[in-house]
């Protein structure tokens, strides 16, 4: 059982979390643009668990920290300010909450504790070659055969598939008049016979996402989460109050700091064009911070946030990109002026940030699809 910290004052809570990070977190990993994977990620999950800082949003009866919304917001703020690396951690972020809400006792027993300990790691099989933004168009089929399902099909954009021990995925279990119906959510071991994965190299040169192929994969019926054919609803079950974190402009802020650091030796603040561009970005960041803070407060008080959460997410992603673009332009300036005092490593970092920022308006629903969704309610459109 991890400690209950809800009764602590905010200041004590933040101080304890910060002190723990200072003590155990590897300094090399203090980079919010870094994403841990493989053994590094597993080490970090295990460490969180040993020291009683794992799964902040999970209920305490399921082994999490069970933090109140206020403390959860603070947890995110402290870890962001510290600059910890990102982790995929689909076990804590997705599978756990889904099982808490829809899982059977047996499923919870098999998964929750190992997820907490960091020995069971999950990757996600949702998108398919023909089902990206239009996820409900997925065609992977799971056909009932007695106590089991036979699965055939293909997934794509599955992040960190190779090193994950488990996979959760969506497949079509019956033909239904509406495409969101007739889909089920399955849990399976990643190394089960019938699953093969193939890496896809991304623009950064990393092999972080994968294609996943199902060839006569046999999954037992008790590996379905929730009711058969209800997978669409089940997959959307997230601990709703943690969704606010997606609107955090942390990466934009990090990049803004890089910008200001690089602007110094270049004297960019004295160049009217750059100065104005950086001024604009500074104001944008200030407003994105304001919206995020308002959303956090709104989540804490249970207010109806309307479209504020999707707006914050969109703004944070697009602002991160705008910052990265400005940083890349500063890097060009630095390259053109050898001896200006900007280390070459910073120039490489600018290129990395620029590339890294690209998918933020793509994954989890493209910026365009999100605008479609928002337009539906603004303009009272059907669909």
């Amino acid at each position: 059982m991890q400690p209950d910290r809800n009764a602590m004052s905010d200041a004590d809570f933040a101080a304890e979390l910060r002190a723990w990070l200072e003590a155990v977190y590897p300094p090399d990993w203090r980079d919010p643009l870094l994403r841990l994977r493989g053994r590094d990620a597993e080490w970090w999950y295990a460490r969180q668990w040993q020291d009683g800082w794992r799964a902040p949003a999970w209920p305490r009866e399921h082994g999490g920290l069970g933090l109140s919304v206020e403390k959860l917001i603070l947890y995110h703020r402290v870890t962001e300010d510290f600059g910890i690396a990102r982790t995929l951690d689909h076990g804590v972020k997705q599978v756990g909450p889904i099982l808490v809400q829809y899982g059977t006792e047996a499923q919870r027993a098999a998964c929750l504790r190992p997820i907490l300990e960091g020995t069971q790691t999950w990757c996600q099989g949702y998108s398919e070659p023909g089902a990206g933004s239009d996820l409900a168009a997925l065609r992977t089929r799971a056909e009932r055969e007695g106590d089991s399902f036979r699965v055939n099909g293909q997934k794509i954009w599955t992040t960190q598939a190779e090193e994950s021990t488990h996979l959760y995925f969506l497949a079509r279990t019956s033909a239904a008049p509406k495409k969101q119906m007739g889909i089920s959510l399955f849990l399976v071991r990643r190394n089960a016979p019938g699953i093969t994965v193939r890496p896809i190299r991304n623009l950064l040169g990393e092999r972080e996402f994968y294609e996943v192929f199902f060839d006569d994969l046999i999954v037992r019926a008790d590996a379905v989460v929730g009711a058969v054919d209800q997978g669409w609803t089940v997959a959307k079950a997230l601990l709703g109050h943690e969704r606010f974190a997606q609107g955090s402009p942390a990466l934009a802020r990090h990049t803004y700091r890089l910008l200001c650091t690089m602007a110094g030796p270049l004297g960019a603040f004295d160049d009217p064009a750059f100065a104005d561009r950086i001024a604009r970005l500074g104001c944008e960041l200030s407003d994105a911070d304001a919206l995020y803070a308002e959303n956090c407060a709104g989540v804490a008080s249970g207010a109806d946030l309307g479209d504020s959460l999707p707006i914050a997410k969109l703004v944070a992603a697009e602002l991160f990109q705008a910052m990265a673009e400005c940083l890349q332009d500063l890097a060009a300036e630095a390259k053109a002026r050898p001896g200006c005092g900007v280390p070459v490593a910073w120039i490489d970092e600018a290129a990395r940030v620029y590339l890294m920022s690209r998918p933020y308006t793509i994954f989890g629903g493209t910026a365009e699809v999100q605008r479609n969704i928002m337009a539906r309610s603004l303009l009272a459109l059907r669909g």
């Binding site: 200030s286 407003d287 919206l291 337009a375």
Partner: protein
């Protein structure tokens, strides 16, 4: 200064909605404009009767001392209804400057408005000066330096009213050496400069409220139009390019609301204030420009309401500091903070 409770706020908003729905519309705005009326004493008295003139004044001089949050809330409703009267320039701004003086008491009753010099640089001699409003009695506040440091001066001058093409009201005065010599001194020294700046900051924040309310209504009018108007066999709302434009305007307005809220929550944080006014000016300008575009040719007619919003956005986007001015000020403070760290 008491905090504005949600109930008080709602009451204020409801009464403002009721009064403006009854006493103000586009026809009134066009009439004032066509007759060249820069200041409408009858409407001014109506606002005073509703208690709006005393919102920012101490109770000792007949005000209700509800503070800047109340004024911002009220200004949002005024923006929504496209009210052209110089409430911020001729009431809120002078109220901050006048404090509990005799002139403040007259301001609370709605007997007078007060014209205030535009800008934050002290006048050093006789000059032609632009005012934010032309008030009938000529009550005027100036920031001047007559050789002994900054002073806030109160005097009566003959104001030439100016109705600008953007629908905003203003005025002009010729300040002579004799005017300067004979003026009443309201405040002197560093305190005067500080007070003047604080008043201008507050006026900028209230104006950000006005612009935010105005932008919300301009978007609402556009959405209504897109849902009704049919071309190529479908409503304009069915076109994805227009849907995304509307979403982007909505995002801007939401950011303006958040920036305004953050500025109100941290009154001492000038960076928040600059961000809020920069954002509100940018958003109201962009929203009204796009709104005219979304209305098509109709949007360029005087008859359609949307043009009134465009013009008032032009006026208020510049009032008490443009987007560029506030953005630059934000960057300066941000750099000072970085250098200090």
């Amino acid at each position: 200064m008491p905090a504005l409770s949600p109930d008080d706020r709602q009451m204020l908003l409801d009464s403002a909605e009721t009064l403006l729905a009854r006493a103000h519309d586009g026809a009134r705005l066009r009439r004032l404009r066509d007759q060249g009326i820069a200041f409408d004493p009858a409407f001014w008295r109506l606002m005073a009767e509703a208690g709006w003139m005393g919102l920012r004044l101490p109770e000792a001089v007949g005000g209700s001392d509800l503070g800047v949050a109340a004024a911002v809330a009220l200004a949002e409703v005024m923006g929504r209804h496209a009210v052209p009267d110089p409430y911020i320039a001729a009431c809120h701004l002078p109220a901050v400057l006048l404090g509990d003086s005799e002139a403040a008491a007259a301001l609370a009753t709605g007997e007078v408005g007060v014209g205030v010099m535009e800008g934050e640089v002290p006048l050093t001699g006789p000059s032609e000066v632009a005012l934010g409003a032309a008030v009938p009695g000529g009550e005027t506040l100036l920031l001047a330096d007559r050789g002994n440091g900054a002073e806030i001066l109160f005097l009566r001058l003959a104001i030439t009213p100016e109705l600008r093409l953007d629908g905003g009201a203003g005025g002009r005065v010729h300040v002579t050496a004799r005017d300067l010599a004979g003026a009443e001194v309201l405040s002197a020294g560093p305190a005067a400069l500080g007070l003047w700046r604080r008043a201008c900051d507050e006026a900028a924040l209230v104006t950000a409220g006005y612009l935010t309310g105005l932008a919300r209504q301009a978007l609402a009018l556009s959405v209504e139009h897109l849902m009704q108007r049919k071309q190529f066999g479908q409503t304009l709302a069915q076109f994805q390019v227009l849907q995304h434009r509307v979403v982007d305007l909505r995002i801007g307005i939401r950011m303006a609301e958040a920036a305004l809220g953050a500025a109100l929550a941290a009154p001492a944080d000038r960076m928040r204030l600059h961000a809020a006014k920069a954002r509100a000016s940018a958003v109201a300008s962009a929203t009204t420009r796009q709104a005219v575009q979304l209305h098509g040719a109709l949007g360029f007619t005087d008859e359609a309401a949307i043009g009134l919003y465009l013009k008032l956005a032009m006026h208020h986007a510049q009032a008490f500091g443009s987007e560029a001015a506030h953005r630059t000020a934000h960057a300066r403070l941000s750099r000072e903070a970085r250098d200090a760290a």
